[in-house]
């Protein structure tokens, strides 16, 4: 239900109503500049399709994902930095939209944990080893 509500909210949001893109011009067409397209594509892969189940907007058939792709390409083409667009999206739709959890108090454990696991594992494993006698 929450996803549906979110979808309705998104449909009603002025961002998409305002944007000058009848039929989402850049939804299924690449930007002519390969470098810009690469930047747009990299960002699209990090943006969650809010109405899909576990897909990014880069690989979803839904209309909403198409609108999002178009929005991202339009803004990249206008010279905006991917990070600015991402920040804008997060501000608008919440952290849920970003597949790349930004470093913050709540996500810090997530990023520190891999290192902790390795250290803990090495510490546990050390008991298994025999000291090497020199020579």
């Amino acid at each position: 239900m929450r996803i549906l509500a979110l979808a309705l909210l998104l449909l009603a949001s002025p961002a998409l109503a305002d944007s000058q893109m009848p039929d989402a011009q850049w939804a299924n067409t690449q930007l002519p500049d390969p470098q810009q397209e690469r930047a747009a594509k990299a960002l699209m892969e990090k943006v969650r399709c809010l109405v899909c189940q576990g897909q990014s907007v880069a690989d979803s058939d839904s209309d909403l994902a198409g609108d999002m792709r178009s929005l991202i390409r339009t803004r990249i083409a206008a010279g905006e930095k991917p990070d600015t667009i991402k920040a804008w999206l997060i501000e608008r739709y919440g952290k849920w939209i970003s597949y790349d959890p930004p470093m913050s108090g709540i996500t810090a454990p997530l990023w520190i944990m891999p290192l902790l696991l390795l250290v803990l594992g090495a510490w546990l494993a050390r008991g298994r080893f025999r000291k090497r006698k020199s020579g």
């Binding site: 996803i3 039929d23 299924n28 067409t29 690449q30 594509k41 892969e45 990090k46 969650r48 899909c52 189940q53 576990g54 897909q55 990014s56 880069a58 690989d59 979803s60 058939d61 919440g94 952290k95 849920w96 939209i97 970003s98 597949y99 790349d100 959890p101 709540i106 996500t107 997530l110 990023w111 944990m113 891999p114 696991l117 390795l118 594992g121 090495a122 494993a125 008991g127 298994r128 080893f129 025999r130 090497r132």
Partner: protein
């Protein structure tokens, strides 16, 4: 009547499981009671009863008996036969019945074939297996009865999710379930060994073939699932770090670690506690996976079951079994001798590194998958953890793991020398260096992970063959071949992943019929678009023609419309050539009359799944090799 028969058989199986558990408990307390002899036939009968119950479910699906609620909700008279058949497990209740069926059959198979364990250990193992079954029978009977009737019966059924109407997906879930639930045997062996205090090489050798079987199925299940997502979702992705994919990856990681540590226990009598722990963890991960998928707690491509009550039931079972096993582990592990120690630079040392890295990756995948749930329950804020996180954290560890894999098989047991290792690996290192030079020169600007992936794949591919070096190949044991082929498979699969991520070319465009666009080295023409009709769908089919030099490939892609339930899917046109795949998708018809077309050229992408199949094949060879050696009379084995 078939549905009622199925329910009765299910009740009988549940009663037999209770009997099996009771017999086991009694004979462990009182060895003179004679329960040891009768527990085996009970386990076999339980397996047969639950298998027959599952056959009843398949039967009602085949005849589309719409008075059965499950059939009405998930099937349709017009559905092709294969999907009526597969529909039996393409839903919550049916897949849970398949789950306990595999559990019961696995228990029966242990009772029939296991000859190496001491009789008390075998009894404890079968009792543990029955204990797991009882919980899941209760779940089926109280919370998810697959045979429930519907009165009055509806005129027609609701159909199966069209995304699931695909031959690959018809057999993907059972394959994974054989792997998931096969691990229950390892779990029961571990519990049995803890109860009877028999943690040693005999236990390890007895458990190993079961672990191998489960691992082969898990590997094949994941490979099939990945290929299904690749061709069915229509965007060329082959791994999404979707929670349900992670749910299948976690038991695989734990089982892969177990497979390696069990070798240390069987050969060198080391890593006793750790191996038992891994056996518990591996099956726990299978149950966690089942919980994640079946409870619908995570929203994902696969979440076709959403019911919190059932989730709570599975969660309670999970807590009971994992908690119980860990408590037993805590109580008994003090009495398990530590086992032999070894030098850090040794075969054992490399296997410990393997276990450490696999466990770390497992931890990352698990925490990353569950983190959004934890964060939301703590702060109320919804987070997403997706591919950028998983790639950045598991990628480097996987590369180190693969590098260790190159060294492990050429190291000696107990103790080795750095210089000796370097000598044995000189040739692979040379190969890797040559690959580094070649890639950097031919593809400047390649990302660091794909670059390292390609270089390591070449080096490790060469190193994986090193154990065969200077050996008489015909006298090399089959399990050594198994290891070599599995490791080679890892290198090949990694080469495919690195190549796909570094060299894929994408073209998204809109064309009129007859127009040509290029993608990578290919010129692709949309020749014509015409409607076609299938058994339960209609489609617009785009005939495509792709040309590269003198090579000409014709293929067809469809945009399909299903009526029940109303859904649209894309059938990609995937053409395989020796150096990769051309992936073409027909999209929507635009108001301006042009057709949207998505095109990808993916060099060597096929190696991803080819490598995966080799990994499983290596497992099969290892299993046959081990069984052959162990079934031989003692005198010959030397």
């Amino acid at each position: 009547m078939t549905a009622e028969l199925g329910l009765i058989l299910l009740l009988i199986a549940a009663a037999l499981a209770a009997l099996q558990f009771g017999l086991g408990a009694i004979s462990l307390r009182n060895p003179q009671a004679g329960g040891h002899a009768s527990i085996k036939p009970v386990a076999v009968l339980q397996g047969i009863a639950v298998a027959l119950s599952f056959l009843c479910l398949i039967w009602v699906f085949l005849e589309t008996d719409l008075s059965v609620k499950l059939v009405a909700a998930n099937s349709h008279p017009d559905k092709p036969l294969l999907y009526k058949f597969a529909g039996a497990w393409g839903n919550h209740e049916g897949s849970m019945l398949l789950w306990v069926t595999v559990l019961g059959i696995a228990g029966g198979a242990v009772a029939l074939f296991e000859k190496r364990l001491k009789v008390t250990s075998l009894t404890a193992t079968l009792a543990a297996q029955a204990a797991i079954s009882i919980g899941f029978y209760a779940f089926l009977l109280f919370a998810s009865n697959p045979f429930e009737r519907l009165n009055p019966a509806p005129e027609t059924g609701q159909g199966l999710n069209p995304l699931l109407q695909d031959p690959g997906l018809a057999f993907h879930p059972p394959t994974l379930y054989f792997g998931y639930v096969g691990m229950s045997v390892a779990f029961s062996f571990a519990v049995g060994a803890l109860i009877t205090r028999e943690v040693g090489p005999t236990f390890a050798r007895a458990m190993r073939p079961w672990v191998l079987i489960a691992w082969i199925f898990l590997t094949l299940g994941i490979v099939a699932g990945s290929y299904w997502a690749y061709y069915e979702l229509g965007w060329g992705g082959w791994w999404f770090w979707d929670p349900v994919e992670n749910a299948s990856l976690m038991p695989w990681l734990a089982t892969t670690a177990l497979l390696h540590s069990v070798t240390v226990l069987a050969t060198r009598d080391g890593l006793r506690a750790w191996t038992v722990m891994l056996a518990v963890v591996a099956f726990s991960m299978s149950m966690v996976g089942t919980f994640l998928v079946r409870s619908g707690i995570l929203t994902s491509v696969h979440a076709f079951a959403v019911d919190p009550k059932r989730g709570a039931f599975i969660l309670a079972l999970l807590a009971l079994y994992i908690g119980g096993a860990l408590t037993l582990f805590g109580l008994r592990i003090g009495t398990v001798r530590e086992g032999n120690r070894f030098d850090p630079l040794s075969r054992e040392g490399a296997l410990v590194a393997n276990n450490l890295l696999l466990s770390a990756i497992l931890g990352i995948v698990m925490v990353g998958t569950l983190y959004p749930l934890i964060a939301e329950s703590l702060t109320g804020e919804k987070l997403s953890v997706g591919p950028p996180y998983f790639n950045a954290t598991t990628g480097p560890l996987a590369l180190i793991l693969v590098a260790v894999m190159a060294a492990g098989p050429v190291l000696r047991w107990r103790r080795d020398e750095w210089s000796a290792m370097a000598r044995r690996l000189a040739l692979p290192i040379l190969f890797g260096a040559a690959a580094l030079l070649a890639v950097v020169l031919s593809a400047p600007g390649i990302g660091i992970l794909p670059l390292l992936g390609l270089v390591l794949a070449i080096g490790v591919g060469a190193a994986s063959l090193a154990p065969l070096w200077k050996r008489n190949l015909r006298r090399t044991p089959l399990f050594t071949w198994g290891m070599v082929i599995s490791h080679l498979g890892v290198a090949i699969s990694m080469a495919g992943m690195a190549s796909e991520s570094a060299f894929t070319k994408e073209t998204l465009t809109a064309v009129t019929v007859g127009e040509t666009r290029s993608v990578g080295p290919w010129s692709v023409t949309l020749k014509e678009v015409h409607p076609v009709a299938g058994p339960n769908w209609t489609a617009m089919e785009g005939a495509m023609e792709a040309r590269r030099g003198s090579t000409l490939i014709a293929s067809a892609t469809q945009a399909r419309m299903f009526a029940s339930p109303p859904t649209e899917t894309n059938e990609a046109a995937i053409s395989t050539v020796w150096d990769g795949q051309l992936y073409l998708v027909l999209g929507k018809h635009q108001p301006d009359g042009r057709w949207q077309v998505r095109m990808w050229w993916k060099p060597f992408v096929t190696l991803i799944w080819l490598g995966g199949i080799l990994i499983a094949l290596g497992g099969l060879l290892a299993m046959i090799g081990r069984l052959r050696r162990e079934l031989k009379p003692k005198g010959e084995a030397a």
